[in-house]
Structures are given as C-alpha cells and as structure tokens.
C-alpha cells in the first residue's frame, strides 16, 4: 500500500501517472512488483517473496526503461526540431539502458521482461491525448521525473554493487534528460534546468 502511494505520486497528473504505471506493467507484472516493493521500503508487501530479489528489481527497472523508450518514440511525431532530435537520441539511450538491464537479468538466470507492442504502449501511455509539442514535453518531463524517483528509491535495495552502480547511472542520465527537456520548455534557462541540490523524484505523500 505504501509502495503504491509512493509510485502514485510519480506524476502530478493522475491520468499521466496511471498511463505510465500501466505501460511499465508496474501494477501487474511479477518482476515489476519488485520495484514497487523496492520503492516503498520494507513496510511494503511484494506480491511474492522472490519479487524483491535483485533480478526482480532489475527487471522492473528494465520495464521502466522500455516504457520510457516507447514514450519518446511515440511522441516524436508531435515534436519539431530541435526537440525531435532530442527525442530520437533519448529513445536510443533509454533503449540502451533497457538492454544493459536485460543482460543483467539474464545473468541471474531469469527472463528479461519483454517489450510490449507499439499499440499497447500507445494505448497505455495515452499518446492520443497529447495534442501538441508542449503537451508532449510536459508528459516526457513527468515521465523522467517518475523514473528518477523509482531508480533512486531502488538503489539501496540492491545487494549487488555493480547493479547499484547501473541504477545510479540511469538515474543520473534521466536527470540529464529532464534537464534538457526543461531547457526545451524554457529557452535553455540554466536556473530552471538545474534547480535542485538534490534531484529527487516527485514529492512523496506518504512513506
């Protein structure tokens, strides 16, 4: 319950939040439940004990990265230069992160979560409700913010130190993505692109 509340706060807009969670499989997939458990602390109850293994957490991280890559791919048609080029680059980087995490999952002898179809992502992310570039950039910014928070909360739960490193790197890359997206919305105002000493996910309502 607490874990769900933490992830529920991932988006200011509850509709966007629901889309992202559904697209990532965060409410249903066994492996993804691990990230919810990881994000919610020890008081949360994963759907099954094995979900909180490193493999489960990393698979959940992979699901997030796949959803992020899909979101960039699906919103790119709404974007003009230079935002479109940015989306293409960030999609490739999110995909690269998903591949790295998938390889790690395989290293545990587990099966990496498979990407959904484009149609599934489009429906679950609610892409059709995004009508213009401004809306797309806001959505992508919220998505990156949610991802930053999820990866950061998961870091202390990982027992494998190399995986900790990978999650720290992905959280940092996503913070960089967010900074660029904010720049696209503010005329590259550095005061708004690097506004915080501690880059967290969305504010958490309850713990």
């Amino acid at each position: 319950m607490f874990a769900s509340m933490r992830l529920d706060s991932a988006f200011k807009d509850p509709v966007s939040r629901r889309r992202f969670m559904q697209a990532s499989g965060l409410t249903i997939a066994g492996g993804s439940a691990a990230l919810i458990a990881a994000c919610g602390g020890s008081s949360s109850s994963p759907s099954s004990p094995e979900d909180v293994t490193d493999a489960g957490i990393v698979n959940a991280g992979r699901a997030l990265a796949l959803s992020t890559a899909a979101a960039y791919a699906q919103t790119a048609p709404l974007l003009k230069a230079p935002a479109r080029q940015v989306a293409v680059q960030f999609q490739a980087q999110a995909k690269a992160q998903a591949i790295v995490l998938g390889t790690s999952v395989e290293g545990f002898g587990a099966t990496p979560v498979r990407p959904k179809t484009s149609a599934e992502y489009a429906r679950q992310l609610g892409i059709s409700t995004l009508k213009n570039e401004a809306a797309a950039l806001r959505f992508l910014s919220e998505l990156e913010t949610a991802a930053i928070g999820a990866y950061e909360h998961a870091v202390p739960k990982l027992t494998n130190t190399e995986l900790r490193g990978a999650f720290v790197q992905i959280a940092t890359c996503d913070a960089e993505h967010l900074s660029v997206l904010v720049g696209l919305q503010t005329g590259n105002d550095p005061a708004k692109q690097a506004p915080q000493a501690f880059v967290t996910g969305p504010a958490v309502a309850a713990d």
């Binding site: 960030f90 980087q93 790197q169 967010l178 000493a197 501690f198």
Partner: protein, 191 residues
C-alpha cells in the same frame, strides 16, 4: 608490499585528502585512483569516502563562487551562485554524515589551493575546468555507490550525483556540446 603501499597512497591522495587533490587530478589520474580503490577496498572505509566527498564538494563551492565573481563562467555567470549554493548543500549533507561516522570535517580549500584554477582567464577554459570537476564528481560517486557499506547514504548520494548530471548538462550546453553524451554516465567523457 611496495605496490600495496602505492595503492594506499593513491587512495589517500585521491579520496581521503579531499577535493583539492581531486580537483588537481586529470581524468586519467582519477581513473588511476579508481583502479586503486577497486583493488584495495579494504583500505577504504565509509568515513574516508565521505571525507573525500566533502572535500570535492568544498572545492566546487569555491570554483563556482570564485569563477562567478570573476565573470568567468560565460552563459552560466547568472547561475554561478545558484550552483555554488547547491554544492554547499552537498557539503552540508556529507559533513553531517561524516560527523555521524566519527570523522572530522576538513577545512575548505582556498582558490590558490586548487591547482590551475586561479590561472584561468577565459570563460571557455573555466567551463571546461568545471566540466572536468563535475565529471570527477560523477566518477567518484559512481565508485562510492558501489563501495559504501552505509546503505542509508545511498539514495541521497544518488540524488546528489543526479544534481551533478544536471550541472553537466548546462555546462555542456554553454560549451555547445552534446548535453547528454552517455546513456550510462561514468564521468569519463572526452573533453
């Protein structure tokens, strides 16, 4: 035995003596320290890692504040004080953690203590200096995330590393380079 002592000395100079040493190091130098850290983890404890982090952040406070006053940060001059305040917030967090681990907060460096810093006269050169320093922070915190035994520090350390990532973005944009060159930032990008 001699080799082991050398590794210990590298670790001491790179992480345990803090920011001035790190700021003076080139990126290859830092990699040497990181290799030493990997090979001699027993010689590094959480207190030493956090002490190094305090020194590194103290150095960045001095760099942003001093460079901002000298108007040497180009497009980032208007946010120099904002960046310095963020680095100070990192200093404050790590100082509290260090004290909690039984350590003593080192004195911050003076501008003259930071090798090469006061000789810089051109904004592009200063931005590249800051870029190098921020990358060293990313590299150091990546190592720290893998090494720290005090897991309660890990989440905030990640938040701080992400902040450095955003600093890197605005510096790279000021230098007209790719703002996000790596899917997995490691602090080892080519300048």
């Amino acid at each position: 035995m001699e080799d082991r002592l050398e590794r210990r000395e590298l670790v001491r100079r790179g992480l345990l003596s803090g920011g001035a040493a790190l700021a003076a190091a080139s990126v290859p130098g830092l990699l040497k320290v990181r290799a030493a850290l990997a090979q001699d983890e027993a010689a590094v404890n959480d207190q030493g890692i956090i002490e190094g982090a305090v020194g590194l952040e103290q150095t960045m406070v001095v760099v942003y504040r001093s460079a901002g006053r000298r108007k040497l940060l180009g497009a980032l001059n208007p946010v120099a004080e904002q960046l310095a305040r963020q680095e100070q917030a990192h200093v404050d967090y790590f100082s509290k953690a260090l004290t909690g681990l039984g350590g003593k907060v080192p004195a911050p460096p003076l501008p003259d203590d930071i090798a090469g810093f006061t000789q810089i006269q051109a904004p592009d050169e200063m931005l590249r200096f800051a870029l190098n320093l921020e990358n060293q922070a990313v590299a150091a915190y990546l190592d720290a995330a893998k090494t720290l035994r005090t897991t309660t520090l890990l989440q905030t350390l990640t938040e701080i590393m992400a902040s450095h990532g955003q600093h890197l973005v605005v510096i790279r944009q000021a230098l007209n380079t790719n703002p996000v060159p790596d899917a997995l930032p490691s602090g080892t990008e080519q300048k």
